[in-house]
Symmetry: C2
Subunit: 202 residues, 2 copies
DNA sequence: TTTTTTGAACTGACTGGTCAGTGCAAAAAC
DNA sequence: GTTTTTGCACTGACCAGTCAGTTCAAAAAA
């Protein structure tokens, strides 16, 4: 099927157009006409490729979180392969998260804006997709406890959620309110927090 | 003047109706008719009390963040008064944040969903209001560095943003995906992270 | 006391405009 | 010759904001 390549390219253009518009304005405030125009495509094409506006959005969410989890997992595996500790892997994942957000700020923005909304059509899609991302962090935390690197007392699901949140919000805040800072600055602030060098030492 | 009391009560009802609806559906997807109906008030009353839908929303934001900063500041001052350290004050603020979010989950949800959006009418209102909240945390961090409780190397604005983010996201995640956990569980997971007892002691 | 007036607060039907989604014939791409 | 895209007119639902009219408690007049 070569035809799927052309379709694929069109869908990609629509994703890119939709993600920035929805991040800026929100889902409801973004019109299908705007998305089509930004993508340089006729409105009919949107409906040829996606059943509806919300289906387009749901597939966009799946697409984006797929990229994120892949990049987190890769960072963690690369660290393990080169003989790093589990805490090193966490640190590498923090950096991977920051790099992702730096590359796809609009997607992150929209993900955060929609994640905790209830009563929306795509709410279940989001729950699944969130769990995939958080699970990557939980796995590393679990490994770290098994290896004795981290205390057995830590609460894995809550700590994983807090770590993800810390990275997400710190990165969005960096982009929105402190864009003059470098990725390395942000990374070391977060690293310091993770490694107990803020108020740590006990 | 009783009449101003009556107005006040109406406005309060409108805030309460709007906050849950907008948290669930987003600003654009929420209609003024819905807000009026939920508040048990005619549509005209909304426009008698607020110039427009977005003005209602902006005043709601100011109102809510006012409550939050007051509660953070109170927690910090109470700790200082009873002779606690600055790190104790940070810990107390984490708890105050959790209590606030527990009490006003809808407001928190909506705040997070809107905070990093650009190009919106209320974007500047939000920037101001965010700064007020973050500043409370920054002040305590600064004090802690001066007192020698925290290393001079920490980056105050970035660390403050990360801490706020950690609390915000952990709390929303708790409500949405792990509601069976207690506030104390969440508090101790975050506390442990702050005090370097996750991977800490270096 | 009783009646009348005042005005802030509130009401809800109505309007003008917007937008998701449809239908389809013709062109372009493959 | 099949798939994909285009362009564009159309519809029906929906919605922000308006406005002429109503309510009622308290002040002023009788």
């Amino acid at each position: 099927m070569e035809s799927s390549t052309r379709r694929q390219a069109t869908r990609q253009k629509l994703y890119e157009a939709a993600v920035t518009l929805i991040a800026e304005q929100g889902f409801s405030a973004t019109t299908v006409d705007e998305i089509a125009e930004r993508a340089g495509v006729a409105k009919g094409t949107v409906y040829y490729n996606f059943a509806s506006k919300s289906v387009l959005f749901e597939e966009l969410l799946r697409h984006g979180v797929g990229l994120l989890t892949a990049s987190l997992r890769e960072a963690s595996e690369k660290t393990a392969a080169s003989g790093g500790s589990k805490v090193d892997a966490l640190d590498a994942m923090i950096r991977a998260g920051l790099v992702f957000i730096d590359r796809y700020p609009a997607f992150t923005q929209l993900y955060v804006a929609e994640l905790w909304r209830t009563n929306r059509a795509w709410q279940s899609t989001l729950a699944v997709v969130r769990q995939e991302a958080v699970a990557v962090v939980e796995d590393v935390l679990r490994g770290a406890v098994e290896d004795g690197e981290l205390s057995e007392e830590i609460d894995i699901p809550l700590t994983a959620a807090a770590l993800v949140g810390m990275v997400l919000v710190a990165a969005l805040d960096w982009q929105a309110f402190q864009p003059e800072r470098s990725l390395d600055d942000v990374h070391s602030a977060l690293s310091r927090l993770l490694q107990g060098r803020v108020s740590g030492g006990r």
